[in-house]
Symmetry: C2
Subunit: 369 residues, 2 copies
């Protein structure tokens, strides 16, 4: 059975770009870039985990289409998403005399995509870049929409730029080598789209969870296409997150606090978002915004998927403090995305402290971390 190639467009006027989704399509990367970058150089940025798996294939696809390729390999992990590591991209580009018309290509997960995009935004005040996300999390979320950046010791993604890629190509075959833990972490973002935007998607996840967990290719292409279509629609409406786009932060205010408190190296981003969605759902139910049984459906699906449903044990004050460093703070108020029902969410910043603290306490691990 051949799995059809899906193609979506993120409509952003002169900055519009395509998302290509399929199985076994990495080999077509070179030809997908040929019209835009003929004769230019491409710097493939990857990490020590992904490079041994997909760099040779990527290089072949690019060189076969006549591109000259430079490799920049970074250490793996969220703890390297900082300026020190970013410098290695600039060093590689500058030492190899990359020019304004040459392109970067991110081959890896969300960290590689965010850092490569940020380097592309800043190198010579902006050069083009291509996203080839190889993790589920990067495919359904980070690679689309142009948010790029690095972490600051006091908070995640605090330093960055909006810089849209000129193409996103995702091959579900790369998911076969993804460790199960990372696949699940990516699934958290898929669940997110269901809760905030697409009840049918949520139902699909509930009914087909076991097949999804095996990574069945046709089903994965369908999931990616569905998530990317939602993301493309939201980004086209609100590129700079003045409104609707904030909904994509569902679970992220609590999630970022978990990552910050645990030093970015014990929880995967998707795991933190999963636990964050449970707290946000519970908070919405406590506030009477969301029917408790629907908040429970969210929690139950996250649990069935094998994702964490509880916050690591830290003082409630530590959570509140960590959340005030978040980018989503406005006029001193923390902004929360809360579900109203499955498939619809709202942004709220005027929450009573007591309910917030109660939700934090009720969904926390009992033991110290």
């Amino acid at each position: 059975m051949t799995i059809p190639l899906h193609s979506l467009t993120v409509e952003l006027g002169p900055r519009s770009y395509d998302i290509l989704i399929g199985s076994g399509i990495l080999a077509g990367l070179g030809s997908a870039l040929q019209s835009r970058f003929r004769g230019r150089r491409i710097a493939v940025v990857s990490n020590e985990t992904v490079a041994p798996l997909y760099l040779a294939q990527t290089r072949d696809a690019l060189e076969g289409a006549g591109f000259r390729v430079t490799e920049i390999i970074l250490p793996d992990g969220e703890s390297h998403k900082n300026w020190i590591t970013l410098q290695r991209i600039f060093d590689g580009l500058i030492e190899n005399r990359f020019e304004r018309g040459d392109a970067l290509l991110a081959l890896g997960g969300g960290v590689i995509g965010d850092m490569t995009g940020f380097a592309a935004a800043c190198h010579q005040r902006g050069v083009p870049f291509v996203q080839v996300p190889t993790t589920l999390l990067a495919q359904v979320d980070a690679s689309v929409g142009g948010k790029t950046g690095i972490n600051h010791p006091l908070g995640k993604n605090l330093i960055g730029a909006f810089h849209q890629p000129c193409l996103v190509l995702m091959d579900v075959e790369t998911l076969h080598t993804l460790p199960k833990r990372e696949r699940l972490a990516g699934l958290a973002e898929v669940i997110k789209y269901g809760v905030i935007w697409d009840r049918e998607l949520f139902t699909l996840l509930e009914t087909r969870l076991e097949a999804i967990l095996t990574g069945e290719a046709t089903l994965m292409v369908e999931l990616l296409t569905r998530c990317c279509a939602i993301k493309a629609e939201i980004v086209a409406q609100d590129e700079r997150e003045h409104g609707t786009r904030a909904l994509l932060n569902f679970g992220h205010t609590f999630g970022h606090a978990i990552e910050s408190l645990t030093g970015y190296d014990r929880w995967l981003h998707g795991e933190a978002v999963a636990a964050g969605m449970v707290v946000a759902g519970d908070l919405a139910a406590r506030l009477g915004l969301c029917p408790p049984e629907e908040a429970e459906q969210v929690r139950a699906l996250i649990e069935r998927a094998g994702l964490p449903t509880r916050l690591p044990a830290y003082p409630v004050e530590a959570y509140l403090e960590a959340m005030t460093h978040d980018k989503k703070v406005s006029a001193g108020k923390i902004r929360f995305v809360l579900p109203e029902r499955l498939g619809r969410a709202v942004v709220r910043s005027d929450l009573p402290d007591t309910e917030l603290q109660a939700a934090l306490r009720a969904n926390m691990e009992p033991s110290p971390p």
Copy 2:
């Protein structure tokens, strides 16, 4: 005699902004910002040299208009225009919980303006900033147009962003405390505008040089207004430097090479540009592009102003190598801005190597640096 306040607008659609030029207008800074930033916080970024002179006055002007002010003071000098120092701005903003609607304000010369602008571009993926340039160079050039960034060990301004300020306010009174050497360095950029765009301005410089060197306020306001009007026109036509804006790099290809070879700490930017303009003028004359007597007029004015007219002695190969790291390189070719006659210039990238090397040799100091 009262010197009138001049006001110009840089027309960039939703990113348009005003430039206010006058004498003694720093006290009006707070009210100029009130409509846009009422109730917000402002982080004043300055350096150890400028802060003792103008920070108290700036702070008073802002607090008098009801703003809450945070100070971030950096070390002075081009050699600090790097990521390490930039981090201090991010640290100051994040530790003080600056939010997306709060603003940065650059109080100082080009280095402070470029770094503050770049920090504003990257903090939380973009926050507003205000330019209050206190050096002649920053007033006539760096503070207008949205080019921001830092240096890389291999080249100047290689890492940065286009991020327009939301207001530029320049008070010629700040020029009284500017060391003569820096005033002259700024004058180099004024001469540049005359050569590439405005023959009348060049003639004004030739005829009134002595009065200009004394810093006579009315004359300085006129010069600033004239230079900023040219810059505003060019930036409005070509914000991202796809065409006309490249003319503003007259003298800069050679100038950046001087700065890079001398480690950014012996030559002021304007001094390097001055010597660079002499080489570019001579090169244009050698190529038959520009009448030799007009190239000589450029050299003579630069010499009369007390600015350097010769490159420091380095091997010609070292200059060529340094120039290939410049952002102005395209398809391996170095791009040069060359005068055709006073008031008009062109961009050329197909120059014969022999003429280029001859111009470098003919305009170099004889002794090693």
